[in-house]
Structures are given as structure tokens and as C-alpha cells.
């Protein structure tokens, strides 16, 4: 059992949790994830480890409440426990070779996944700019955390209620137009956002790394459910990723494959809503 020691509501649909998991805290590196199962009836669902504290034996999870499992997780309070938590899974993020100036782009809750990477690059002495995009001001997360771990933070909102108005791709275009040249771009967020960023960076031939989030079961390479097509080859995101060369990823296929259980997920979500109310 893995106890929740602290819980914070970052915005109405994003929750921050610090969970006791000493073995994972000791070993985890930026870019790796865990798989949790809330209770006996729950699914196995992956979440990135946003931060870790090896001394306290805790890890931090930041998740968006999108469906049944994240609703169940969010229903737990400080002092409660998660039944199963396995990790660290996936390959750690690598420092891009010979990169000096890089841009980390996060979209929505993708910022939670982008944050540990920005922090690691910043600590390694790279010049890191962060572009963080949200729909509107109320749902901005991790602003302070990013500020402390980058050279410049560009916040943008779709509706202009905070920071630059527009999408992260508009902000990146600004930077490129202003003559700033990045050795590498890291883009993490909704699949369509990553796809748009990659279309833009391809034009300027900026190497781009994305973090993929296909549906997973075991997270150890034994089901093949997480397979994605990268450069025309099948790759297992749980063991060979989740980071991949964005210019090689078949995003449309990933979008289709992530929709495979949409009907059943909807049912589960409705049932969970009813459960939480009663």
C-alpha cells in the first residue's frame, strides 16, 4: 500500500499528490513513470513521476481528472493509500547531445510531465526556455516551479486571459522569428499539440522530442498495447519510450489507437460520477 502524504488541488481538474514509495523515490529519474491501481477493481494507469524526494521516500504525481481511474484516485485523501504502484518504468530522459539552448514546451497537464525534464536540463546547466500553454488563466499550473528552473518562462493561454494569447506554437514561432535558435525542442501535451509543434520544428529542422502517452497495461513490454509507430517501425512506449523523436512519430495512428475504448471509458466515468455523488 502506498500512502498519500500530501494532496493539493492545483485547479479544478488537476491534482497534485505526494505518495510514499521509497524504493521508487530512490531510483526514479526524469522522464520515468509509474503505473497505479487504486483498488482491487481498478485499471492499471500510467502517470509520470513529476518529482521525487529520496530522503523522505516520496514521489509526486500530478494528474488530470479525465476518467474513471483518475476520478477514483482523486477521491482519495491525505492518509489514504493507493493499492498498487509499480515503477520506475520507461527510459529516463536523456540530455540531448551537444545541446546548449533548448525549449521545453508543455500543454495543459503535459506541463506536469515537462516539469521534471525542464528541471533536469536546467540543473545540468543548459539554457532552458519554457513555453507553457493553457486554455485559460484559472487552470495555469506549476508557474512558480517552472520559473525557478528555466531562463525564461513564456506562459500562454488560448483565450488571452493570462500571458500571451494563443497556442504554444504561436509562442514558439515568435521566438524563432525573433532570431532565437534552439538546438532541441521538447514538446509534451495533448497529441494534437505535439503534432503541431513537430510540424513547425520540422520546417526549421529543429530536433524535437515528444513524450507519448498510449494506453498501457503492464508497462514492462509484455502486452504490446502501448505500441506506437515511429519512423515506420513498431516501438513499445513503455520500455523504449515514452520519449521519441517527434519528427518520426505517427500521431494520427496514436490518436486512433487511444480512442479504442472510448465507449467503455464513458460508461465507467458515468458510473464513477454516480458513485462519488452517493
Amino acid at each position: 500500500m502506498f500512502q498519500i502524504v500530501k494532496k493539493r488541488i492545483l485547479n479544478p481538474s488537476v491534482t497534485w499528490m505526494e505518495v510514499t514509495a521509497p524504493h521508487i523515490a530512490r531510483k526514479v529519474r526524469a522522464g520515468q513513470f509509474i503505473i497505479f491501481r487504486v483498488d482491487e477493481h481498478g485499471e492499471r494507469v500510467p502517470l509520470t513521476v513529476a518529482d521525487s524526494n529520496p530522503d523522505a521516500g516520496t514521489i509526486t504525481l500530478i494528474f488530470q481528472i479525465v476518467g474513471c481511474s483518475t476520478m477514483k484516485l482523486n477521491a482519495l485523501q491525505e492518509g489514504d493509500s493507493i493499492l498498487d504502484l509499480v515503477g520506475p518504468l520507461g527510459l529516463p530522459t536523456e540530455l540531448p547531445e551537444a545541446a546548449k539552448k533548448i525549449c521545453v514546451i508543455g500543454g495543459g497537464v503535459g506541463c506536469a510531465i515537462a516539469y521534471p525534464q525542464a528541471k533536469m536540463f536546467h540543473k545540468a546547466g543548459l539554457d532552458v526556455d519554457v513555453i507553457a500553454g493553457f486554455r485559460s488563466k484559472e487552470i495555469v499550473i506549476l508557474e512558480e516551479e517552472f520559473k525557478q528552473n528555466c531562463s525564461e518562462l513564456i506562459l500562454c493561454t488560448d483565450n488571452g486571459s493570462y500571458g500571451r494569447k494563443g497556442f504554444v506554437t504561436n509562442a514558439l514561432q515568435d521566438r524563432i522569428d525573433a532570431g532565437i535558435s534552439y538546438d532541441t525542442v521538447i514538446a509534451i501535451g495533448p497529441i494534437l499539440m505535439m503534432k503541431s509543434v513537430c510540424e513547425l520544428t520540422k520546417k526549421y529542422q529543429i530536433p524535437t522530442i515528444v513524450s507519448l502517452d498510449p494506453i498501457m497495461v503492464d508497462g514492462t513490454g509484455m502486452c504490446g498495447g502501448c505500441r506506437v509507430t515511429v519512423g515506420g517501425k513498431i516501438r513499445y512506449a513503455c520500455v523504449e519510450g515514452p520519449d521519441f523523436d517527434g519528427h518520426q512519430v505517427d500521431f494520427d495512428e496514436l490518436i486512433r489507437r487511444n480512442g479504442v475504448f472510448r465507449e467503455r471509458e464513458k460508461e465507467c466515468r458515468m458510473m464513477q460520477l454516480a458513485d462519488n455523488k452517493s
Binding site: 524504493h23 521508487i24 531510483k27 491501481r37 477493481h41 481498478g42 485499471e43 492499471r44 474513471c68 481511474s69 477514483k72 493499492l83 498498487d84 504502484l85 509499480v86 515503477g87 520506475p88 518504468l89 497495461v217 503492464d218 508497462g219 514492462t220 513490454g221 509484455m222 502486452c223 504490446g224 498495447g225 505500441r227 509507430t229 513498431i234 520500455v239 505517427d250 495512428e253 486512433r256 489507437r257 480512442g259 479504442v260 475504448f261 465507449e263 467503455r264 471509458e265 465507467c268
Partner: protein, 465 residues
């Protein structure tokens, strides 16, 4: 007075039409009366050919004799002394190729139903108190051994070492131990409660099981040794699914049998009260001819599919599945398309599977495996409309441990190399089961776990001197 019937005493089964739609156990097992009748068919031959057919050497005629004497506890003790998972083996061993294939009675009629009798005795002792009354815990010898993987190989190795007094800890990647017995083989063939009971029995022998532990990620093998484990046994199985590499495998509706079965068995996707989603299919093509393919096909029927096809490139004769599974699958309505091979999977405008193109085959010369190899017939392609394709064409060992452990060597297929005492190329690290042989059987994995336990015991004793 031996029962001279040429045929095995039939075992009660659920009616095929009914059972094809539920997940309850297909074979109901012998009653006492039926078991006594079948036990009386054993001639108790002095040469015991059956025992030599058993990879763990169960003393078959002896336990059957105990049954005829109605000394069921005695029978259990005999079985359990060499086989830690009798309730499992009685259900899933390919007896027709092992013990029963050597039975004298098979020369003129059917072999004695050894598997059925084993199951009868094991089921009688499922109750924990009954088990504990017969099988006793050994005092600790204070030597710590780590076992990686809680499948049949790991469980057997752990059990045998615990019986010798070792303090054994199993590190299991999933949230429950059992390996394929939990995630692969379906409930209707091997009820999960039975597997868990066998695991509970191991715990009463003093074995510690740590779940959610992916060795190679959370701890490396070297770190386990640093933690004070004096020897390590790797029984991590062969869980990596293969795909065919044909067009259309990334379509929505194509999955590995591992994923399909894991969702259903381990994650209980067939039950309404569990959150796990499973593909909802009308027409399913399962590619392959082994136990995995049969399990996938029969599960698909139970999940509500109207048509389920087994597509296999050789003929039924070459199918590696247990005979009983093929027979059960047919009874339940699975359609067999043998001597056919998929060449392409078709999709609709939404990227979902709409059909599979198969090519017909004929049998040519025997290949390296001794089976006649299939040769494609030109221009024989045709299209089979399906909405789901389940790939059950084999698995290979997971590279996770090998790639994170220095000094651990494997062959080209990724199987760990071991010497005759099951030691890997790394001192003090042993391996066995599917991780060494590639996908094989429960009993072979158990046999490997057993010999490794024996070697580890010798290794520790030598080290102590």
C-alpha cells in the same frame, strides 16, 4: 480388482453451449465415486513408465494406490512431495504427451486419467487448514535467496528452497504472483482462486512475496545481491509478444493475445464490477495454434463474439495446443481455418479492423522442428470479414533483466544461457522456465525451478564450507 474398461471414466463438464458464454470452469472434476472407479484402472506396474514421463517425477502409481485405499491425505502428501502446484498441474499439463503417453493402458485403449486424479486429490486439500495439517513449515537456516518472477518456475523454486529452510523472497512485477497462471490461462480453465490458494500454501511455508517489483527497474540483480541475497533465481518467463509484421497491425482492433488475456484474466475485464475495458467484438480472428490461441478464441466467445476463427498455417495435427483444449474449443463453436496464413489486415475509414486477408497453404517437407512446413498456394488469397484480430503467434523472453545485468548471457532468441546445474553465466545467479527455454509448459517450468532449487542448495552448502 482392477477396472478393465478401455476408456477413461468420463469427467463431468459444463454443457458446451452454456459454457461458451460463461467464465465458470469447463471441467467439473471427479466426484469420489468417479475417482475411485478411475483409480482402479491403474495396474500399478512395477516399471512405472508414467513416472519417467513426468518432468517433476510425481510418484504416480503410489498416489493412485492411496486413492484406491481411500487414504486421500496420503495421496496428497505423495504428490506434494515433488509437485508444489498439483491443483494447477492436474488442470493444465499436457498429460497426453507426458505421463499418460507412457501408460501401459494406453496400448489398448485410453491411458489412466492421471491428470484428473491429481486434480481430484489437490482439490480435496484446497482448504488451507487441510493443507497445513499435512505440509509443515521447516525451521529457518538463515540463508536468504531472491527469486525473480512469481510464475510456476519461481514459485516451485521458492517452495522447494523454503522446504529446505531457506528464507525466500519472490519479487514479482505484477500486482499478484502466479505469472501466466494469473494473467494468461483463463478462469474457465484454471480458476484464479485455486492459483491463489496454492500461493497461500507457499506463504505458509515461509515464502515472502513482494509484488509491484520490476527487477531491472526498481532493483538490479546486483543490488539484490548487495542486499544480502546469497543466490538469485530468475524465472521471469517469456512474456514478450510477437507480431507478424504484416500490413494493418497498428489498426484499432488488433492486439496481442497477451493484452487480450491480461485484460480479461488478470484485470478481470469480463466482470462488470471491474473497470478494465476489453475489445467488444462480433467477429474475431485468432492467429496461431497453441494453447494461447485456444484461450484467446474461447475467451472471445465468452465475451460475446458471434464468430471466432482460429487461423493456423499448418494442419490440425501439428497444432501445439493440448488436445483437450482443441476439442473443447470446437465443441464450443470456434471455427478452425487451418492451412491458412494471414497476409494483411484491412481497415475501414476510421482505422478500425474490417477484415483479414488469408492465403491458403499446403504441407511440404518437414522443417527443423520435424513438423511438415507450410508452403503458400499461389493466388489463393481471400478476405475474411472480422472486426478483431488477436495475435497468438508466440512470445520471447523480456530483455529487461538481461540488459540491466552485467555478465548475464543469452542466446540469439534472448533466452538466458544456463549450465547443467541451471546457473547462468553469472556466479550465484540461476535461471529456469520460459526465461531459459522460451515459451514452453507449466510443468517444464516447475521442473526447472525444482532443479535450480537443488543446485542453489548445493551452492550455498559449498559456499559455507
Amino acid at each position: 480388482m482392477p477396472n478393465m474398461s478401455k476408456y477413461k471414466t468420463p469427467v463431468p463438464e459444463q454443457n458446451p453451449e452454456v459454457r461458451a458464454r460463461n467464465f465458470e470452469e469447463v471441467t467439473l472434476g471427479y466426484t469420489e465415486e468417479l475417482a475411485l472407479a478411475e483409480a482402479a484402472r491403474c495396474l500399478n506396474c512395477p516399471s512405472k513408465p508414467c513416472v519417467s514421463g513426468c518432468p517433476v517425477g510425481v510418484r504416480i502409481p503410489e498416489f493412485i494406490k492411496k486413492i484406491t485405499e481411500q487414504d486421500y491425505a496420503g495421496a496428497y502428501e505423495i504428490i506434494h512431495s515433488t509437485n508444489a502446484l498439483p491443483a494447477v498441474c492436474g488442470r493444465v499439463c499436457p498429460q497426453e504427451r507426458q505421463c499418460e503417453s507412457r501408460c501401459v493402458r494406453a496400448k489398448n485403449g485410453e491411458a489412466v486419467g492421471i491428470g484428473r486424479l491429481e486434480r481430484f486429490i489437490a482439490d480435496l486439500h484446497q482448504d488451507k487448514d487441510q493443507h497445513d495439517a499435512i505440509i509443515k513449515k521447516t525451521d529457518s537456516n538463515h540463508h536468504k535467496i531472491a527469486v525473480v518472477g512469481g510464475g510456476p518456475a519461481g514459485l516451485t523454486c521458492a517452495g522447494d528452497l523454503a522446504k529446505l529452510g531457506y528464507e525466500v523472497t519472490i519479487f514479482e512485477a505484477f500486482h499478484v504472483a502466479g505469472g501466466v497462471l494469473m494473467y494468461g490461462i483463463p478462469e474457465f480453465r484454471l480458476p484464479k482462486a485455486i492459483v491463489q490458494q496454492e500461493i497461500e500454501n507457499l506463504k505458509s511455508l515461509g515464502v515472502t512475496i513482494l509484488t509491484n517489483m520490476v527487477v531491472g527497474k526498481v532493483f538490479s540483480i546486483d543490488e539484490l545481491i548487495e542486499q544480502g541475497f546469497e543466490a538469485v533465481f530468475i524465472g521471469s518467463g517469456a512474456g514478450l509478444p510477437r507480431f507478424m509484421g504484416i500490413e494493418g497491425e497498428a489498426l484499432v482492433g488488433v492486439c496481442s493475445a497477451n493484452e487480450y488475456l491480461t485484460r480479461i484474466n488478470l484485470m478481470k475485464g469480463y466482470r462488470e464490477d471491474y473497470d478494465t475495458p476489453v475489445l467488444q467484438s462480433k467477429s474475431v480472428a485468432v492467429v496461431g495454434g497453441g494453447n494461447v490461441a485456444m484461450d484467446g478464441a474461447r475467451s472471445a466467445l465468452r465475451m460475446g463474439a458471434e464468430h471466432v476463427y482460429i487461423i493456423y498455417r499448418r494442419s490440425e495435427l501439428e497444432m501445439p495446443a493440448r488436445k483437450e483444449e482443441i476439442h473443447h474449443a470446437k465443441e464450443e463453436g470456434v471455427e478452425f481455418l487451418t492451412l491458412q496464413n494471414p497476409v494483411k489486415i484491412l481497415g475501414d475509414e476510421n482505422g478500425r479492423v474490417s477484415g483479414i486477408v488469408c492465403q491458403k497453404m499446403e504441407l511440404g517437407e518437414p522443417d527443423a522442428s520435424g513438423r511438415r512446413s507450410p508452403v503458400p498456394i499461389e493466388n489463393s488469397e481471400y478476405e475474411l470479414p472480422v472486426d478483431t484480430v488477436i495475435m497468438a503467434i508466440g512470445t520471447s523472453p523480456n530483455p529487461l533483466i538481461r540488459t540491466t545485468t552485467q555478465g548475464l548471457e543469452a542466446n540469439q532468441r534472448g533466452c538466458l544461457l544456463v549450465n547443467e546445474s541451471m546457473m547462468t553465466t553469472k556466479q550465484g545467479v540461476y535461471a529456469g522456465g520460459d526465461a531459459v527455454t522460451g515459451a514452453a509448459t507449466v510443468i517444464l517450468a516447475m521442473g526447472a525451478g525444482k532443479s535450480a532449487a537443488k543446485s542453489i542448495h548445493e551452492y550455498i552448502q559449498k559456499k559455507g564450507k
